[in-house]
């Protein structure tokens, strides 16, 4: 369960948002909405613990996330604006590396199967710097296929994807929710994710 109490965010002396509060329980999806510059990414980074909140509290299973530290990170999967895909490595190496870093090493066969699912078959051994924007995004998203940590925080996951990949990602997110996972995400595209009634939170409204 993710508990947000009275959260406020500043950028310089400009107030981005204040008094944001919600509770997300297992199996729930929250769409974070708002125009450009409304503070969506800032809020997501606060939820991860990367940026300290200017006011308010973020609790995971009733405990402040700062106090949980590494225990919270073991429950969290964050996909940021940047892909975190190393340009010099191949999609396969990137996927194996991120699985390793998450503490759940993946076999090479399993990784190849995942890459095939995201439509990267035949591109596994090409350095990522030769891939298109959408393909890089796919390579970054591939890790979600095997991700079993309960809380997913996704910043614009659908950007640069074609309809096929968007359908795949919606399916993966839906399956995660059905397993009892939690998802907080931002998106500007209209996406349908079955399996769960989506809740919406609008920043700067």
């Amino acid at each position: 369960m993710l508990n947000i109490l009275n959260l406020a965010g500043l950028r310089g002396d400009q107030r981005l948002f204040q008094g944001v509060g919600f509770t997300l329980v297992a199996g729930e999806l929250l769409f974070l909405e708002g125009k450009n510059g409304a503070g969506k990414t800032t809020l997501l980074r606060m939820l991860c613990g990367l940026t300290p909140p200017d006011a308010g509290e973020i609790r995971w299973q009733g405990e402040e996330i700062r106090r949980l530290g590494g225990d919270f990170h073991a429950q969290l999967c964050y996909l940021g604006h940047q892909n975190a895909v190393k340009e010099d490595l191949t999609p396969l190496e990137n996927l194996l590396a991120s699985a390793h870093l998450a503490g759940e090493p993946l076999g090479e066969d399993a990784a190849l199967a995942v890459l095939e699912q995201v439509g990267m078959a035949g591109r596994e051994d090409l350095a990522c710097r030769y891939l298109s924007q959408g393909q890089k995004r796919r390579a970054a998203l591939a890790r979600l296929a095997r991700e079993r940590r309960p809380l997913w925080i996704l910043d614009e996951p659908f950007v640069a994807l074609d309809t096929q990949a968007m359908a795949w990602l919606s399916g993966v997110i839906g399956a995660h929710l059905q397993r009892g996972g939690l998802v907080v995400m931002t998106t500007h595209q209209a996406v349908e994710i079955s399996a769960a009634p989506a809740r919406r939170l609008r920043l700067g409204a």
């Binding site: 990367l50 590494g70 073991a74 892909n83 895909v85 190393k86 010099d88 390793h100």
Partner: protein, 222 residues
């Protein structure tokens, strides 16, 4: 826990191997700086022998400096640093891994090439051995202190110059004991005291610096 250190080392080494030019440029910079002095000062063996430890050590310092900005910059820009910071391991251990990887690709080669440069300065064999050993045990301290500077200047415009202003003064003890060891050897004394102090700096640096650098990285990521 220690698995993460080895994992980060393996990862950074693999990335470095994909870009051998980065490693080579540091090494060639070191060779060039140290080779300019015999050409500039002239061939009197006595003067060169006096100059050698200082010149080679200053060259090693500058070469290490040159490679520092790359330590975290790329991971910072492509978002990989966020993922490292959010991994369920202490960030200090990750930084320790990156520090050791940095030493393997930019400190160790300096130690290996140092005897060749020492020959240009007419250093006696036992002084050459001391030179290699002092660079070998001293450069990890340079990498670990440099990690703090690299983390503090991460994402700043013109961070490179600021980085050298921050880090070079902190390198002075390493320079003093490193050249001291070789000087002692040239003068016929035992270099042991200098080498022990150099080793102490390295052990201290590798123990404490990663945690300071990790704190600086967290601030840079905010």
């Amino acid at each position: 826990m220690l698995r993460i250190v080895f994992y980060v080392i393996a990862r950074d080494l693999r990335l470095a191997l994909r870009r051998p030019a980065d490693v080579c440029s540091v090494l060639f910079f070191f060779i060039l700086v140290a080779s300019l002095f015999p050409l500039g000062v002239g061939p009197e063996a006595e003067i060169l022998r006096r100059l050698a430890p200082g010149v080679i050590w200053v060259g090693a310092l500058l070469a290490t400096m040159l490679s520092l900005p790359r330590m975290f910059a790329e991971d910072f820009h492509d978002g990989a640093l966020e993922q490292l910071a959010l991994a369920p391991y202490p960030l200090g251990l990750t930084v320790l891994g990156k520090t050791l990887a940095h030493w393997l690709v930019s400190g160790l080669p300096l130690a290996l090439i140092a005897p060749l440069l020492g020959l240009q300065f007419d250093l006696p064999p036992e002084a050459l051995a001391t030179l290699v050993f002092s660079v070998f045990i001293g450069t990890p301290a340079l990498s670990s202190i440099g990690a703090i500077g690299a983390a503090l200047t991460l994402g700043l415009r013109g961070g490179g110059v600021l980085l050298s202003l921050l880090v070079l003064p902190l390198y002075i003890p390493v320079l003093i004991f490193g050249t001291g060891a070789v000087d002692a050897c040239v003068g016929g004394a035992s270099p042991a005291a200098h080498l022990f102090l150099l080793a102490a700096l390295t052990v201290g640096g590798l123990t404490f610096a990663p945690w300071a650098a990790a704190a600086a990285l967290r601030i840079a990521l905010e």
